[in-house]
């Protein structure tokens, strides 16, 4: 089945997310859509899947115009989609999730779970996707959850399968496995739209590549195109995502973590007795597949988690058990994983956001009196210094782009005296320009003698910035290795395989 898009245009207010996009996916081909964050890939796919309505343009299946105004229409014409954020109900079983939407009932209108189980087993065997139909989805690792998503699409007999950033949550090995599954599917006649910003994967698996930049198709190329060319077409200029790192002397340990365990509300250990240290003037990157305890470890470093055991020494002083405020004021800057939820207050102005953890300090306040004047004059300085693109410091932060929101967070965190910077997924979802900015800032802090601990699931970022790399797997640090390690070795560690070669520190 072939899928063709003609002149798809979609605007949100004054912002044009898709600008007259033409695209043709041939039967049994893997068609990669490459573009950086915010280029309009997801919008386009949501239009194809009926989650968004295009302002103009048409969708053709096998040469015939079809009207897709909701996901049922898409499913009916044979389009399936695996979303970047999984569309699974966490508290349901695999079978319940898969039958949802086209349930079969036995007599007395009771749900026929047996039928669903059988269907899942059949698909599992056909495509080598092993899952337990009765497992509760939230207890499954993300890799398996993704398989559930793919089975869900296949069970609807999808002839065109859209995969939206499917490798973001996978280890390199799992990624390879997924790429193999994609090839299998293709050989069985399924057309695949593969959305990604990872050049390596595109070149490995795609038959045809379309590059989208700022909502427009800028090129349609073959997979033989070099990574450098692909990158510059994607961004619109030559890019180098491995910033220059100066060699310099490191100081002693500025942050020491001993036997740190973090538990969730039910008492299960999410981080299991980890030990590591960060030196002054060093970037320690914590790599690993999402969901292996990195988020909790990062949050625990400023006592954001409720159940923490062990020891956190900042410049020799114990801070575990201190309040969040005291942890921050002791000299930790914290860039949280989710800008929108944890980093900024959307309805507050930029100026107000810039003092979120500073408002009690001089000169912003005296006693309980808050000085709007100081707040605003300081905000003007930050906006200039960190190149925050805005009309006015009194604009609500929710009006800013993702990159500028992150700049607000970074500006705030770096505008007080700090010893250690904890950055959790600081470039997630940002465009290349903003990524470069964040990388420069991180290295600047390192060069100024601060300890930096960078949590990232992006291997390229880890390798580019780190002096040493710690790999987390299932709540433990499996090893701390030199930054000259190969991707393969890192990949093995991320999958939980330890060998003699990559011994722990």
């Amino acid at each position: 089945m072939s899928l063709e898009l003609r002149g798809i245009t979609k605007t949100f207010g004054s912002f044009t997310a898709n600008d007259s996009i033409d695209l043709k996916v041939e039967t049994g081909q893997i068609h990669a859509i490459l573009g950086e964050n915010g280029a309009g890939k997801s919008t386009l796919m949501n239009i194809v899947y009926g989650l968004l309505k295009a302002d103009s343009g048409e969708i053709l299946i096998d040469g015939k115009v079809v009207d897709i105004s909701n996901p049922s229409d898409a499913l009916n014409v044979g389009i399936g989609m695996v979303h970047q954020h999984f569309m699974l109900i966490p508290v349901f079983t695999v079978a319940e999730n898969i039958m949802l939407g086209h349930e079969k009932s036995s007599k007395l209108r009771v749900l026929d779970l047996d039928q669903a189980r059988a269907a899942i087993r059949a698909i599992s065997e056909d495509f080598g996707l092993q899952v337990d139909p009765d497992a509760i989805v939230e207890t499954l690792p993300v890799g398996i959850q993704q398989k559930v998503e793919i089975i869900k699409a296949l069970i609807y007999e999808a002839k065109v399968l859209i995969l939206d950033e499917p490798t973001a949550v996978l280890t390199p090995q799992e990624t390879d496995e997924l790429l193999n599954t994609m090839r299998d599917l293709k050989n069985k006649g399924t057309s695949i739209i593969f959305i990604t910003h990872k050049l390596r994967e595109v070149r490995a698996v795609a038959d045809q590549i379309t590059i989208i930049r700022r909502g427009k198709v800028v090129a349609a190329v073959s997979p033989e195109t070099s990574e450098g060319e692909l990158a510059s077409m994607m961004v619109g200029r030559a890019v180098d995502l491995s910033p220059e790192k100066y060699q310099h002397e490191m100081g002693g340990a500025i942050l020491e973590v001993k036997n740190l365990t973090v538990r969730d509300a039910l008492g299960a250990a999410i981080v299991k007795g980890v030990n590591f240290h960060v030196n002054a003037g060093e970037v320690l990157a914590v790599a690993g597949v999402q969901g292996n305890g990195q988020s909790e470890l990062a949050r625990a470093l400023i006592n954001l988690e409720d159940h923490i055991e062990g020891s956190i020494l900042l410049d020799g002083e114990e801070i575990r058990g201190a309040s969040i405020k005291d942890s921050l004021h002791a000299g930790i800057a914290f860039i949280p994983e989710s800008r929108e939820l944890d980093g900024v207050i959307g309805s507050f102005s930029i100026a107000e956001n810039l003092i979120l953890d500073l408002h009690e300090l001089s000169p912003y306040s005296k006693g309980i009196n808050l000085s709007a004047k100081v707040m605003q004059s300081e905000a003007e300085k930050r906006v200039a210094e960190f190149d925050i693109r805005t009309q006015s410091i009194l604009d609500a932060v929710s009006t800013l782009s993702g990159g500028n929101k992150q700049k607000v967070v970074i500006a705030r965190e770096l505008s007080r005296p700090i010893k250690v910077l904890v950055a959790s997924q600081p470039t997630r979802g940002l465009d290349v320009g903003s990524i470069e900015f964040v990388h420069e800032r991180i290295l600047a802090e390192r060069d100024a003698g601060r300890g930096v601990i960078l949590f990232s699931t992006e291997l390229d970022e880890v390798i580019a910035l780190a002096d040493r790399i710690a790999v987390m797997y299932r709540g433990e640090i499996l090893g701390i290795v030199d930054s000259k390690v190969t991707r393969e070795e890192l990949g093995l560690l991320m999958a939980g395989v330890t060998s003699a070669k990559v011994g722990a520190e």
Binding site: L328, I345, G346, E352, L356
Partner: protein, 389 residues
Amino acid sequence: MKNTISRIGQSIKLPGLSFLMAFTITGIIIAVSDEKVMNKIGSPIEFLKSAGASVGNAYLALFQGSIYDNRLAKSNFFEGFYPFFETLVTATPLILTGLSVALAFKSGLFNIGAQGQFIFGAIGASYVGFRFELPVGIHILAAALAGIVLAAIWGGLVGFLKAKTGAHEVILTIMLNYIAAFFILWLLKTKTFLRPGRIDPIAPEVADSAKLPLLAGENFRIHAGIFIALAAALFVWWLLTKTTIGYKFRAVGANSQAARTAGISVPFVITSTMMICGALAGLGGAVHVLGSEHALNTDVAGSFGFDAITVALLGRAQPLGTVFAALLFGALHTGGRMMQSNTGVPLDIVVVTQGLIVLFIAAPMFVRYIFRLKKLNASTSLTSKGWNG
């Protein structure tokens, strides 16, 4: 200049249209529930005339009962304002309870408990008012303070329990309202509170030294409480916009997760907000007892605590807005009494009007839909937090 006018025009569009719709629907209800009108249903013209008269009379009575009644201006023009002063008397506790609910909204809390907090404020003020003998100024102060403290504890209890256990404040405050209502029933049967020689539940009158001064002489009930209420509004405005405490309240109200990540203590904000909310509603109870009731009775709280919620919603949780909303609802209630006695339209219809106004204010999308508007300024629409919030 033109810009300013159009901006003001935009910002009063939603309330204006909401009022229009609410009073129209209320009018229809008044008309169709009037048998004199319905008897004429056979002839459309007569029917409309009669309906117009019925609704017109009711709204005229509403106005005369709340703002100005020329029939009362017997010796001078000023006396005609008697209803307006009555409106102020009713609005005074409403401003304070409304501020209590409004402040809670700012911190992301839905305080349904102003009713119970009001009761405790009234109890504290009444007790100090009748039990002790103190010099004039000090007595008022002490009585009001007693009310404030009791109510702050009652309100703070909600904050404490929520901060400690995560229980939802809506459930907690509803339950505590019932408990407060039963408590005052019991209290007024005890020897300490029952007025000597009485069997109906009423406390002794507060000493003259504890009564708030009257503002317009013996013939009017208007008392100094209105200034206290306005000062409280000013205080809430100052607290929210000029202090670090208010900054924390707003931060937690807007995004508690980000506020916590930045080191703001959410339990502190929840507990202290609810204490201040309690204090405000309690001050309402105190002012009501010391200013107009003078003696504690079981119905002292009336529906001030519940109306407070509609007041705060209409006032968009802004201090100034709350003051205006309280004045409006105070007027509706005061005028409603006149409407009931003069035209036979039950007072309760104003509750419907009140509810409709708030419903439409809370639903800008609906107003836009009805009037086919392209743009409608509703940037500060209020939200509460669901059970998981």
